[in-house]
């Protein structure tokens, strides 16, 4: 079923919309959430919450592309739960590892307040993404947006895990230089 038909089902307030959404994008959403939370049960709950969030948002929203919209909700909910969990104990998923990589690259006691506003930060990140080759851009997004493991990225891109690891190291270095030049990291 195509996205526009699923959205029409949401507008008609048909519960079939949720089933179709789950059939079509359930695996992607679950994988994304699991990478962050490292817990099957938590991931399933987050995905269900995301479906509920989608139900509450459509209508009036008519997102296009639907998948990006859905993934964004899943990621936000998963990160919220991750942070809540982390206040109690450390998580052990891919997100934790990916996050630690970023901390090593970008760690700074300074916050964006008075430095870079978040909207400006988003723009800078998009500009940085545009400087990368499509393949490297996908590597960055899969690692730090989707929290994929090296193995998952390797399978997706056809690169070796080692190659993925080395490329990401270079990308982080480029990222750090990029922000240093713009005063985002001190």
């Amino acid at each position: 079923m195509d996205d526009s038909t699923i959205i029409e089902l949401f507008f008609a307030r048909s519960e079939q919309a949720i089933r179709e959404l789950d059939d079509k994008y359930g695996k992607v959403c679950y994988s994304l959430s699991y990478n962050i939370l490292n817990s099957r049960q938590d991931a399933e709950e987050c995905v269900n919450d995301a479906y509920l969030g989608t139900w509450d948002t459509i209508p009036p929203a008519r997102p296009n592309p639907l998948l990006a919209f859905l993934c964004r909700i899943v990621r936000n909910l998963s990160l919220m739960r991750y942070r809540a969990d982390r206040a109690v104990k450390r998580g052990g998923g891919s997100y934790t590892v990916a996050f630690e990589e970023l901390e090593g690259c970008l760690a700074s006691p300074h916050t964006v307040e008075g430095n870079i506003e978040e909207q400006e930060l988003v723009r800078l990140i998009e500009d940085f993404l545009d400087t990368l080759s499509p393949e490297n851009r996908v590597l960055l997004m899969r690692r730090y947006w989707f929290s994929d493991s090296y193995g998952e990225i390797a399978a997706r891109t056809g690169l070796s895990e080692k190659n993925v690891s080395v490329r990401l190291t270079r990308i982080r270095k480029q990222l750090r230089n990029y922000f240093e030049e713009r005063g985002g990291v001190r």
Partner: protein, 273 residues
């Protein structure tokens, strides 16, 4: 900025980046390129082996040419770790092998990346590299050697070359296999000859490490400048086509500059279900 803020901001980038990451499909490598490169390398190995080892083939009575006394890794295990000053070509490079390559700065672009890397990490100026020399189509080997010998006062004899007969799609190339010092290589490159490293094939891919001399050397030995043999379309390949500092092409052994190493210490991956 910290990682938390970055992660949060990354979550708000435009949908197009998310969709690109979801829908990305790996490019299929050109079959002819892959097999062409492999065939060419195999052909080169066979040809060089035939030329260099007639004694072995003929038995005890045969006379083999003297082996390269320096053939081997050429770097010391005891040398402290350092990283050469390099330019990253991976951004503009569609190839998988050379996509991994760093090219040292300051080398004439007639010198292949692997050869330049090998020269950069080898401290012995008398070390002789196994080199495939390709002369310009409009020049003979003698003309190139003559000019090289004049310009830099080095001596390279045409008779020292082991002629390499590259067949099939590569007929247009006149290749000559040599053992040459860095100085001789620079002289040839300055005079239009393209010089490529023929790796020994020794080593293990797992030992490639861009932070150590031995790790870089392993890369050179395993891959050499194999792409140069893959066909005409490779002519534009940045692996051999990029010269970062055109104005400063070296006529002497280039400096090896210590720069901060790449951070390859990755946190370990968690187990996935």
């Amino acid at each position: 900025m910290n990682a938390e803020q970055f992660s949060s901001a990354l979550g708000k980038v435009n949908d197009k980046y998310i969709m690109e990451a979801i829908t990305y499909e790996r490019k299929k490598k050109s079959g002819w390129l892959k097999w062409g490169a492999m065939a060419a390398c195999f052909g080169l190995i066979v040809t060089v082996a035939m030329a260099a080892l007639p004694g072995l083939l003929k038995g005890p009575g045969g006379v083999a040419p003297p082996p390269n006394p320096n053939l081997g890794p050429g770097v010391s295990d005891t040398v402290p770790q350092k990283t050469i000053n390099v330019v990253d070509l991976s951004q503009s490079n569609p190839g998988e092998f050379a996509g991994d390559m760093y090219r040292p700065k300051g080398f004439n672009d007639n010198i292949g990346s692997a050869l330049a890397l090998k020269i950069s990490i080898t401290d012995d100026i008398n070390y002789k590299y196994s080199v495939l020399v390709r002369t310009p189509l409009e020049s003979t080997l003698e003309q190139v050697l003559n000019n090289a010998n004049k310009s830099l006062n080095v001596t390279i004899n045409a008779t020292d070359a082991i002629s390499v007969n590259i067949s099939g799609a590569f007929d247009a190339y006149n290749g000559y296999y040599y053992f040459l010092t860095a100085e001789q290589i620079f002289a040839l490159a300055e005079n239009g000859a393209r010089c490529f490293y023929v790796g020994s094939g020794q080593g293990d891919y797992e030992d490639i490490n861009w932070d150590t001399k031995d790790g870089i050397s392993t890369f050179c030995e395993l891959n050499g400048d194999m792409y140069i043999l893959a066909g005409e379309s490779i002519e534009a390949h940045p692996d051999i086509g990029v010269l970062p500092d055109k104005g400063s092409a070296p006529t002497e052994y280039p400096d090896t500059i210590i720069v901060p190493g790449f951070d390859l210490d990755e946190p370990s991956e968690p187990n996935t279900p």
